[in-house]
Every structure is written in structure tokens, then in C-alpha cells.
Amino acid sequence: MTYTIISELNVCNKIKGDTITEKELLNAGANIEALIAGNHIKASGGTTKPAIQEGAYK
């Protein structure tokens, strides 16, 4: 799982637009939910919800 820095402030010594891995955040002792709530980071790559194959039961 990777995240993109969207904060104007440095997060884990990274700046806006940089990407950061979940492992890096956890190693730094970061509370990821709080960083997302504070608009510091957002999940990269859009939704992680698996695509539903056409014709499959929903």
C-alpha cells in the first residue's frame, strides 16, 4: 500500500507530491488514519475495491 503526500507540511521528511509506503509510515510510528483525516496523505492508485467481472452476481 502506498500513499501520496497531499499536505503542505513535510510528512516523514517528504513533501507534497511524494509517495510513501505504509511500511515507511508504520516504521516512523505514524497513525495513518489520523494522517488521512488531517488531509496529509491519500491512498495512491485510487480505490482498492476489486473490480466486479461483468456478468457476475453483485
Binding site: 499536505s7 507540511l9 510528512v11 509510515l25 510510528g29 497513525n31 489520523a34 488531517g38 488531509n39 496529509h40
Partner: protein, 136 residues
């Protein structure tokens, strides 16, 4: 050994560098004093150190902008968070050590100030566990 005037201290809370919105920082550590005095000819109390009790006091300059002070701290209320304090925002060394610890965000002041004054938030957070000092 040079004296130091604090101008560029670094305070990182939950991995977010909030230094430019913090006007004061106090990292305190103390130990309980446990009396071990027994009968002796010295006629003086003897003591040993007990549990340590550490805390962090900060004065924030309040800012409600996106991903700034309020947005960073409010989601942390009631939780523990990693804090790193460095005297000067440059390379950590023996003469510029870093202090890392887990603080309990036990209080917060979303709004504090008087007319005509800077909105600030003064907090003292107890530290859970030990303070780790690094010199490299």
C-alpha cells in the same frame, strides 16, 4: 560546548513537521524519589530514583487551514502519537541530539485566545514510556 539560542528547533508530531507553528517547547523528565533511609550513623536521608515521569509542553500557533495544526492534532485526541524533538533542524549529531517518544494527546485547545491576540493552544502531554535520545 556552545550555548544555544533556539531559533530553528524541529518538532514532528505523528510524522508531520509542525515546527513553524510552535513557539515554545519543553521536554521534561523527572524521577520519583524513593526514600531508602535506614538506621545509620549518617543521620541523613538516603534516596534512590523511582519511576521516571516525562512530559511534553508545547505552545501551538493555531491554524485551521487544510492539513495544518488543528487538522493534524484533532484526530489524535485521546490517542498516543510519536513525537520527535530536535534542537536544530539539521543533521542529528552528538551536539544536536534528537529525542523520540510516545506522547498521549490528553488535552487540546481548539480555540484559545483573547481579542487582538494570536490564537494559540498550550498543551502538556504526558509521555508514555521512555524518551529515546539519538546522536546520529
Amino acid at each position: 560546548m556552545a550555548r544555544i539560542v533556539l531559533t530553528n528547533a524541529k518538532v514532528t508530531i505523528n510524522s508531520v513537521n509542525l515546527s513553524d507553528h510552535i513557539g515554545s517547547v519543553i521536554l521534561s523528565t523527572s524521577n520519583d524519589v524513593v526514600d531508602t533511609t535506614g538506621f545509620s550513623s549518617t543521620a541523613a536521608r538516603a534516596r534512590v530514583a523511582g519511576l521516571s515521569d516525562n512530559s511534553l509542553t508545547l505552545e501551538f500557533h493555531q491554524d485551521y487551514a487544510t492539513s495544518n495544526v488543528e487538522a493534524t492534532i484533532f484526530p489524535l485526541i485521546g490517542t498516543t502519537t510519536t513525537v520527535v524533538v530536535i534542537p536544530v533542524d539539521t543533521t542529528v549529531s552528538a551536539t544536536n541530539p534528537s529525542y523520540t517518544f510516545t506522547a498521549l494527546v490528553a488535552e487540546w485547545q481548539p480555540l484559545s485566545g483573547a481579542v487582538g491576540e494570536l490564537a494559540t493552544a498550550s498543551v502538556t502531554w504526558p509521555i508514555s514510556g521512555a524518551i529515546t535520545k539519538a546522536v546520529a
